[in-house]
């Protein structure tokens, strides 16, 4: 298990659609047996890269290997070794869950008997075992379809699993279940997992390594901790009862921290070792008789990394699904 190559390498991959460039020289490496989080806003090029790595879309430049195999020249071998759950689930609505799973198993060269056993096992794993066996997949809820789609990707115990926004549109409970399943697959089977997400929290919690893509280019890369450390500083937010007070506080705090700015009746201070320095800040504000209504200390987030790299905030509002992309 340990000596199988489960790594992914992407070297200067480019993909254009007409004169639109969806991927512009993307390079990255995913280590065998790691969880890789590919983070980016709508239209950044996440799905395009997954399709190229999964051999169903050709790149227009550069090269990539999956499990040590070139995706362009060894596509059939790559397909046998990977599991893929795309952003849009691909289920035949008139079939039953078991039929789909058994057929999928057979297509991946399992015997009928193996495929049946595996189907039952997977239905349990994704929590669909108790669904009426006669029910057509088309009548499943969105969340059930997504879980079945994940089960289909796992039929042949792939070495490498690609998940394109696996939790988009799921309720918080299902989301946590998927996270747990992803961790379990990684830990118990040593599966390399390449997942895309628009949620910072997801990348932060799950991934060993994160790359942030914007407009077809990688803008930041590293472990979540490294990336946050590159921002370097914690944020202390003081809330006052009026913006006026906040303005006065700004002047007082300026000499004591690395950077400070106001936002309405709040003041945001960027500094190292916030916890140790907080008492001093409080004393200054107290001496000036500025009444503080609330204080928070926050670690830098991946959102801050994104902000620093691109000068814009990530679109992290899950209710604002699929802001119109640039093309199509």
């Amino acid at each position: 298990m340990t000596n199988i190559d489960r790594s992914i390498t992407v070297t200067k991959i480019t993909r254009t659609f007409g004169d639109y460039t969806a991927l512009n020289g993307v390079s990255l490496r995913v280590e065998s047996g790691s969880i890789f989080g590919f983070l980016g806003p709508n239209g950044a090029g996440k799905s395009t890269l997954i399709k190229i790595l999964a051999t169903i879309l050709a790149s227009t430049g550069g090269s990539a290997t999956v499990g040590g195999l070139d995706v362009a020249t060894k596509s059939t071998e790559v397909r046998q070794r990977i599991g893929v759950a795309l952003q849009d689930v691909g289920l035949d609505p008139v079939m039953r869950a078991r039929e789909l799973l058994v057929l999928q198993g057979r297509l991946y060269r399992l015997s009928t008997k193996e495929a049946k056993l595996r189907s039952e096992e997977l239905l349990k794993t994704v929590g669909l075992a108790d669904v009426d066996a006669k029910r057509k997949v088309g009548d499943f809820s969105g969340g059930m379809k997504r879980r079945l789609d994940l089960a289909l990707a796992l039929v042949h115990k792939p070495d490498i699993l690609f998940l394109d926004e696996p939790t988009t549109g799921l309720d918080p409970v299902s989301r946590v279940q998927i996270w747990e399943e992803v961790r379990r697959l990684n830990r118990e089977l040593g599966m390399t997992i390449f997942l895309t997400t628009q949620y910072l929290e997801e990348a932060d919690r799950l991934a060993d390594h994160v790359a942030i893509i914007n407009d077809g280019m990688i803008v930041a890369e590293g472990t979540p901790t490294e990336l946050k450390a590159s921002i370097g500083q914690e944020v202390v937010t003081f809330a006052f009862s009026t913006p006026d007070m906040a303005a006065k506080a700004l002047v007082l705090l300026q000499p004591l921290v690395t950077k400070v700015k106001t936002s309405g009746h709040e003041v945001l201070c960027y500094l190292n070792q916030a916890a140790q320095n907080l008492p001093q800040l409080l004393r200054v504000l107290d001496a000036a008789k500025l009444t503080i209504t609330n204080v928070t200390i926050a670690q830098p987030t991946l959102d801050d990394v994104f902000l620093q790299a691109t000068g814009a905030r990530l679109n992290i509002d899950p209710t604002k699904e699929a802001r119109s992309t640039k093309k199509s």
Binding site: K51, A58, Q80, G90, L91, L103, Y108
Partner: protein, 253 residues
């Protein structure tokens, strides 16, 4: 090979669950057989016309069923493209050829069932053949090749346009194929010059000729060689076109 069987069986199950999709094919064929046989059979009394009009019109009924059955192949593929299941199949190690042939063979199987029904009906109506059981076998084989040829065409349109409407509309080539041919009267009797030319270049004519020669004239080399040769060539062309289209999809995205 296993992949082809698996995918064919899957599509056949779909037809079994949705028999309504296969009914138009049967209905049109039965219409040809009953209505034209009843209405036009006087033609066979014309001097120079030999054999029964039933034997003459039967190939038309069979071929029209075949076109409809073959159109099913393209439609089932469009359905898979639209549900995203086609992409799932592309992601699997199944060969592209198997994915396409699964749909084509299932369509051709439906049409074989239809052909058996039509032949049965014709026999009940008193059909007599000069070549007996082996002849019927040949007719069924010709129909199967014709069905694969037309399946290839509908699959090509499906992959090219990814549109259910266009694929459905493509079955309208049914009309020129059937009507610009020696459909209702033998080719020698076609008086219009352009129709004669159209009939000469229409592969359907050779399917008709081969089947009719089997039913009416007995074993004859020329129509059979022409029929099998032209239909096989036709099937190869549409088959290759659809496979190229399937392989191009990775490039285009």
């Amino acid at each position: 090979m296993t992949d082809i069987i698996l995918l064919t069986v899957r599509t056949l199950k779909y037809y079994l669950r949705n028999p309504a999709e296969t009914i138009p094919g049967i209905a049109i064929s039965v219409f040809f057989l009953l209505v034209y046989n009843a209405g036009l059979s006087g033609v066979s009394n014309l001097p120079g016309f030999h054999g029964s009009y039933l034997a003459f019109i039967l190939p038309v009924a069979i071929i029209s069923a075949a076109i409809n059955g073959a159109g099913l192949a393209g439609q089932s593929l469009v359905r898979d493209i639209q549900t995203g299941y086609y992409t799932k199949l592309l992601l699997s190690p199944a060969r592209r050829l198997a994915i396409i042939w699964g749909a084509m063979i299932a369509g051709a199987t439906v049409l074989l069932v239809e052909v058996f029904l039509i032949l049965g009906l014709a026999l009940l109506m008193g059909l007599k053949s000069q070549t007996g059981l082996a002849g019927y076998g040949m007719i069924i084989l010709l129909t199967f090749i014709w069905g694969m040829a037309f399946s290839g065409f509908s699959v090509f349109v499906a992959l090219k346009t990814k549109s259910a409407n266009t694929t459905q509309a493509s079955t309208f080539v049914f009309f020129p194929l059937i009507f610009l041919s020696s459909t209702f009267v033998p080719k020698e009797y076609i008086t219009s010059h352009w129709l004669k030319i159209a009939a000469t270049y229409n592969p359907t004519t050779y399917a008709f000729d081969a089947m009719r020669s089997l039913l009416i004239d007995g074993w004859q080399a020329k129509p059979l060689v022409l029929g099998f040769g032209i239909l096989l060539a036709f099937a190869t062309v549409t088959g290759v076109l659809s496979l190229i289209q399937a392989q191009r999809s990775t490039r285009l995205g």
